[in-house]
């Protein structure tokens, strides 16, 4: 099991971000490096890629705020 976390340096200031869109469904097979979600902070968006291959388990729904370092999914 690999944790999918928001990198501490994804954005500079200590603001809240949200997942604007998951690009895979919960339970989908993903490859390492696949773009799995878009993260939005204010009006800027960032790419979230899969850190490993496996089955995606989504923990945080779109539009639910989090801070950098948050775990938003797991890959089994």
């Amino acid at each position: 099991m690999v944790s999918v976390t928001i990198p501490a340096d994804m954005w500079a200031e200590d603001m809240e971000g949200v997942i604007s869109a998951w690009l895979f469904e919960d339970g989908d097979k993903v490859r390492e490096g696949d773009l799995i979600a878009e993260v939005m902070v204010e009006k800027t968006s960032y790419d979230l890629t899969a850190p490993a291959a496996g089955i995606l388990r989504i923990l945080v729904a779109p539009d639910v705020p989090f801070r950098r370092g948050a775990e938003v999914a797991r890959i089994e």
Partner: protein, 355 residues
């Protein structure tokens, strides 16, 4: 059944073989198509406001300047007159410029270059000076950006001979239409709807995010897609309104009304054959358009049905469109005026009533 599964080119087994699912937003699909064509063809370049370092305010050029550099991914000053005029000249001498008109609402200052130069020079030159350029532009409202940043204006461009006009409803189509637009020898107006772009702050319609092949493929301009078959009423939509039509069709199915849904994908050329064949089967037509109601795409489609399928019509066609007023800033005013699935379903019930 989704638009994406329906619009895959027939016989294109290689595109689905040997690859796993990969969902993209329309913004990413557009950027990927542009990047692929730039690798293949050194005459392709991109110009516009904030399309370089920022990657486009709607995300559709993200990552390109890092790969291709500022010569081919050119941030321009705020002068659509200058850079769209320049693009017409570049296209005339054999380059393939893609320019971004950030909001379609801004077309006023650059329209001479578009409709008097780009649209007409191929005709004036007897075909000797083709204008292979793409103007990509954002359209649509729904997020309180008021009357000068929320318009669609499909009909404005569709009215002028010499321009092709495409409007993707999902990421699969967005990539195939972009590759077709860049390779087309004519000027193509590529209108992408903000609500479908995958930028969170504009809201994102989930159906616009689809599986997109990594390989390059072309979606022929001028071909509509039948995205949901049904026998009772034809719903015609495109871009964002296609999703209203699909949602309405799902609601209507629960009431025993089987709606057929057509995604135009291209407004010019308009696939009248697909529309007519469907209307001849169902006898009923509802058109959904988030542009102003009068003198637009919805009128053209209803005229097409009247001219070509009059005998088959069992009820007067109806349209769901934005009323003929400037788009309000207030969310309390704007949202209720916009087409949505409930209005489409209500119109469909009306045309099906009594039959």
């Amino acid at each position: 059944m989704t638009a994406a599964t329906q619009t895959k080119p027939p016989g294109d087994a290689s595109a689905s073989a040997n690859r796993s699912k990969r969902n993209l937003t329309i913004a990413k699909a557009m950027a990927e198509a542009i990047g692929q064509e730039m690798r293949r063809d050194s005459s392709v370049l991109v110009m516009g406001e904030d399309i370089g370092r920022l990657g486009g305010v709607f995300g559709n050029t993200r990552g390109l300047i890092e790969e291709f550099g500022p010569e081919r991914i050119r941030d321009t000053p705020i002068s659509e007159t200058a850079f769209i005029g320049a693009a017409v000249g570049m296209a005339a001498v054999g380059m393939k410029p893609i320019v971004e008109l950030m909001f379609v609402d801004f077309y006023g200052v650059c329209m001479d270059a578009i409709y008097n130069l780009a649209a007409k020079n191929c005709y004036f030159s007897g075909g000797q000076v083709p204008l292979p350029m793409v103007i990509m532009t954002s359209c649509g409202g729904g997020y309180s950006d008021a009357g000068q940043h929320s318009q669609c204006l499909y009909g404005t461009f569709a009215h002028l001979p010499g321009l092709k006009v495409v409007v993707p409803s999902n990421a699969y189509d967005a990539k195939g239409l972009m590759l077709a637009a860049i390779r087309d020898p004519n000027p193509v107006i590529y209108m992408f709807h903000k609500a479908l772009q995958g930028m969170g702050w504009l809201g994102t319609v989930k159906g616009a995010i689809t599986d997109v092949p990594e390989d390059d493929y072309v979606l022929p301009i001028g071909r509509a897609a039948l995205v949901r078959p049904g026998r009772d009423v034809t719903l015609v939509g495109f871009g964002n309104t296609l999703h209203h039509a699909l949602d309405a069709a799902a609601d209507l199915a629960g009431e025993g009304i089987e709606a057929e849904v057509i995604d135009l994908r291209s407004i010019v050329p308009l696939d009248r054959e697909t529309i007519l064949a469907s209307v001849k089967r169902t006898g009923r037509l509802v058109v959904v358009d988030d542009d102003y109601q009068s003198f637009g795409v919805s009128a053209e489609i209803i005229a097409t049905a009247s001219e070509g399928a009059f005998a088959a019509l069992k009820a007067a066609p109806r349209r769901v469109a934005f009323p003929d007023i400037p788009i309000p800033f207030s969310p309390a005013l704007e949202r209720p005026l916009m087409p949505d699935a409930n209005k489409v379903a209500a119109a469909a019930r009306q045309v099906c009533k009594g039959n």
